[in-house]
Amino acid sequence: MERKLVSTLVAAAFAGLSGPAAAQISDGVVKIGVMNDMSGLYADIAGPGSVVAAKMAVEDFQKTSKSGLKVEVVGADHQNKPDVGSNIARQWYDVDKVDVIVDVPTSSVALAVNQITRDKGKAFLVSGAATSDLTGKACSPNTIHWTYDTWMLANGTGNAIVKTGGDTWFFLTADYAFGHALERDTEAAVVKGGGKVLGKVRHPFPGTDFSSFLLQAQASKAKIIGLANAGGDTINSIKQASEFGITKGGQNLAGLLVFITDVHGLGLQTAQGLIFTETFYWDLNDQTREWSRRFAAQNGGRYPSMVQAGVYSSVLHYLKAVEAAKTDDGTKVIAQMKAMPTDDPLFGKGSIRADGRKIHPAYLVEVKKPSESKGPYDYYKIRATIPADQAFRPIDQGDCPLVKK
């Protein structure tokens, strides 16, 4: 219950001395709205943990900044429904004087908030949502897409696996727009890398029983079974694949959208050998370890997902930009964010492109065997690092109207 209180009630107000910068700040305070799924499917990857991450960013910013900026963090639950999300966004902007909305997992909700933010001239920092349309067709001068996207997942995983010998694929695709996009992008990466797609099957979404489709995948004799689905569907497919002895038969599963929390839920026994791509892992270096332990201490012992790390990193950069631009006008701050290089302990040095895409390296990880793991959350072996300039979709291929050709 405690975590719900933290997230749903106004989270915290950080009082500081009002300095000269405050003159340009609407009503003297920068209000950050963390909107995500607080109780549902994505509550673990984002949820109350993202509120914790945003608050940590505010604290860390205020420790080093001298401007005395007043910052307030509020949270809300969009229940993964675009209409609920757009309702909250409108009320936040129109009534509650929120200046920036962050996180917003679930692509449908993120796209809705993206549009409203643009209409109202505010700022939107996406961490939780996957769709690469946010920096493509739907790109906006008021939005930055921070942590990851579908193109990067598909390309990273597809390309890297083909390179390491997994050159024949069979896709298990959730039969809706998101699954199709993931399958299409991964297939392109596989074929480009010289691999072959032997077949694909579209499963109903959401599905519970994947055995029939897994049998078809097994019969295809493909080396890699690509799971172009998400959340519970991915988890169930992985479980059932292990039940039907598919991984024992020599075929490997490639998850296209898997988070550390999913691995935690599945357990290493079932998840071992799974290959996928992430942009953040707590055990990368001393800085990430230090931050993650601090985070876990405030988040009931749960380690950060890449989405939560992205919330921290994006809020920190946003506040730096507000300070530099001396205003909290959404369009101006986003322009300032793009103009400044990014630097934080979690994603290192990076930059933001004109289409709103934040650029940083990605990591191809493989889930450890139970015998290799030293304890909770010691889950990944880093198989490859994809450099920042190759990890994301080239800027000229996204059809973003903001990019001049």
């Binding site: 719900k4 607080m38 429904k81 739907a138 727009a177």
Partner: protein, 324 residues
């Protein structure tokens, strides 16, 4: 069949008609003044759902048929209006009309199947048909799957009035809502409505009087579905969004709840019920899944102890004071 389902039967005595007229005048005044007091988008949401609930009530309150699949008309209308406005560039009034016309066809097709059974079966069949529409919306390319149809332009009414302005949009929604409400009022008190009520009270007797009851039920079903589509199409323009939420079975459940809370078979009940439930969702939204629990609890309380709903109870109180 025990005909206890319709406690708040709207008898059309002269006195009642007069008080209904007063109530309607009050509602018009409320609609006109609401944007001064509350957030206009919220008020528009209430009106869209109120119209939806009134349409639903036409079927259960006056026809005695409980549909558990009305989300297919509401959501279908939303998708059609959104698609025609966004992709084909229809003006808002055309988009809504197009959505309404198409939902009428959908209601005809599903109605032909559903009215073949009664009572509980009818509820289950409509639920199953709506689930089919849900899966269709999930998979069909034009609906955008999980993303829904986003960034729907509100457009210019008749090519002139820009509805991007919340107050202009409000006026449009108010006209649609009040127009739809008057239409339902008219239907209920028409000879057709009287036959419908007769069927509800005692179908075999209506049959023996020579009425083709199946045809009456079908017409009621189509009318109800069509007006639901109108409400859904309007809602899509208000929120500039049509999504799976609108076609999901929980939406069908919500409209049942609104009607039940307000009062089955009363003209104004669904409006009051929709206002209560939408307001509740708005203020309890932060509680996440508890909203479902609260809704469930309201269902149970209404069914166990409060079957006449708010308006039905008020009406009973009113009638008790004034012995006829």
């Amino acid at each position: 069949m025990a005909a206890v389902l319709h406690p708040g039967t709207a008898a059309a005595s002269a006195g009642e008609t007069r008080s209904l007229r007063w109530a309607f005048a009050g509602m018009v005044a409320l609609v006109a003044l609401a944007p001064l007091a509350v957030y206009p988008v919220f008020a528009m949401k209430v009106m869209c759902f109120a119209l939806f609930a009134c349409a639903f009530n036409l079927l259960i309150g006056f026809g005695g048929l409980l549909s558990f699949g009305h989300a297919m008309f509401f959501g279908g209308g939303a998708y059609l209006a959104a698609h025609s406005a966004k992709v084909w560039g229809f003006t808002p009034e055309l988009a809504v009309l197009f959505a309404t016309a198409c939902t009428a066809l959908l209601a005809l097709a599903t109605g032909l199947l559903a009215i073949r059974r009664q009572g509980i079966y009818f509820a289950m069949i409509t639920l199953a048909l709506a689930q089919m529409v849900y899966f269709f919306s999930l998979q069909a390319p034009f609906t955008g799957g999980e993303d829904g149809i986003q960034a729907v332009p509100r457009g210019k009414l008749f090519g002139v009035v820009d509805l991007a302005n919340n107050y202009a949009m409000y006026a449009f929604v108010a006209v649609v809502f009040l127009g739809g409400f008057l239409l339902i009022w008219r239907i209920v008190h028409s000879p057709f409505g009287q036959v419908l009520k007769a069927i509800r009270e005692n179908e075999p007797r209506a049959v023996s009087l020579g009425y083709d009851t199946d045809r009456y039920k079908l017409v009621a079903f189509v009318l109800s579905g069509t007006i639901s589509g109108l409400a859904g199409g309007t809602k899509a323009l208000v929120f500039q969004l049509a999504s799976l939420t609108d076609v999901h079975w929980s939406m069908s459940g919500e409209v049942v709840l609104m009607t039940l809370v307000g009062g089955l078979g009363t003209l104004f009940g669904p409006v009051v019920g929709a206002a209560v439930i939408v307001t509740m969702q708005n203020y309890l939204a932060q509680l996440g899944a508890w909203v479902t629990v609260v809704q469930g609890a309201i269902f149970v309380v209404c069914v166990m102890a409060f079957r006449r709903g708010i308006v039905g109870e008020l009406g009973a109180l009113f009638r008790a004071k004034k012995p006829v």
